[in-house]
């Protein structure tokens, strides 16, 4: 309830300065106008290469280890890498006319057809991601109602449906709780030559109490 009031307040505040709103919106969302997206899309390429390299290394070391737990972890990290890549590719998808229309990424599209948003006015806006369900933080109305409307065909899809953990560029994962954090401002700690970033001081404290439990295996 409080959150709703807060949101309403923000809406009213922003209404007073529409130009600021427009600027903010442009900054937040990949505007579907061509030029800017092309530039962003080009910037993204080295990032994606890094992600792919990291995931490949992880897979290779898992294969060498021949250990089921490692392999599962590698698959998980591959999965999140793919999600990363998809997020990164968003500007490219907006720049070029969507070449993936009609393709679905299994796992990432839980009950897209059920989402009431699909037929809503918002979805009819020229959104290149329509049907792709980007795991972007706030405007996820299409992805939200998973719980409320489990897909009709498979009653179990609801429980099993993959839950995308949001990822975005240049962010680090808190080793305690998996929250995405901005390394520039997050509390951090070094352990065995690696730097860890935390979503809160409490989280950092918890890590320092038993770092061995939470330390990750080398990723890159």
């Amino acid at each position: 309830m409080n959150a709703r009031i807060l949101r309403l307040l923000i809406a009213v505040a922003v209404a007073l300065v529409p130009s600021v709103a427009a600027a903010q919106h442009d900054a937040h969302q990949a505007a579907p106008s061509g030029g800017a997206d092309m530039a962003q899309c080009a910037q993204v390429q080295p990032l994606i290469q890094n992600i792919v390299a990291a995931a490949t290394a992880r897979l290779e070391s898992a294969r060498q280890s021949n250990n089921p737990a490692d392999m599962r972890a590698a698959i998980d990290s591959l999965e999140s890498a793919l999600r990363d890549i998809r997020t990164q590719l968003a500007p490219c998808a907006a720049a070029v006319t969507d070449p993936h229309a009609g393709h679905t990424v299994p796992n990432m599209q839980p009950a897209a057809g059920d989402a009431p948003a699909a037929s809503s006015p918002a979805a009819t806006a020229p959104d290149a991601h329509a049907g792709h369900q980007m795991p972007m933080p706030p405007p996820a109305p299409a992805g939200q109602p998973r719980g409320t409307t489990p897909s009709a065909g498979d009653p179990q899809a609801g429980h099993m449906g993959a839950h995308q953990t949001e990822k975005s560029a240049g962010k680090e994962t808190d080793p305690i709780n998996g929250l995405m954090v901005d390394p520039a401002s997050a509390p951090k700690a070094a352990y065995q030559g690696q730097t860890y970033y935390f979503s809160s001081e409490a989280s950092r404290k918890e890590f320092l109490q038993s770092p061995a439990k939470f330390a990750r295996k080398p990723k890159q």
Partner: protein, 210 residues
Amino acid sequence: MKAVLKAFGLLVALLLVAGGIGLWYFVNTGVSAKARPGRLEEFIARRVRNMAISRHAASLTNPVEYSGNVIAEGRAHFADHCATCHANSGSGDTDIGRGLWPKAPDMRLSQTQNLTDGELFWIIENGVRFTGMPAWSTGNKEGEEASWHLVHFIRRLPMMTAEELEDMESLNPRSPAEIRQQMEEEQFLKGGGDQPSAPSTTPHTHGGRK
């Protein structure tokens, strides 16, 4: 012999009277789920439930290794499927959790935290009979793994930070009305569309999740 028959008859009569009084009580007061189960009943029910969990299951250890990502998965899953009754914090302080009989437990407390990983897993997969806890088993490996993620997450409940709770709020299921309102607000923030409509004029009072 006659004495025995007499005693037996008396006993039956007593039982009938007690039953009658009980029936009269229930008919007049109704059997409400609002009450809290008595301590004796709670004690017996917990015992019975613990007995119902197979020993083999109780001794299982979590095959999924702890990691931030596992917690994130478990947290997202919990926010989507469990928080409606158990609350994001695991307190059970929700409209449904409070109204169940027995109430949804505060999962941060020892009653839940003292259960073994295997017991938690078993309860998620099989539910608890005669309570609001359903069986979530899907009968496949992915489902089991999701349940093990949840077990890791349940262990974290007592230490949850404000940031994690905030993250969960964005993942809680929403009603179509809430989604519509959010979209209107976003549309409005983008500078287009009408002013977001006020929350439904006929608010239904059962909503809300803490």
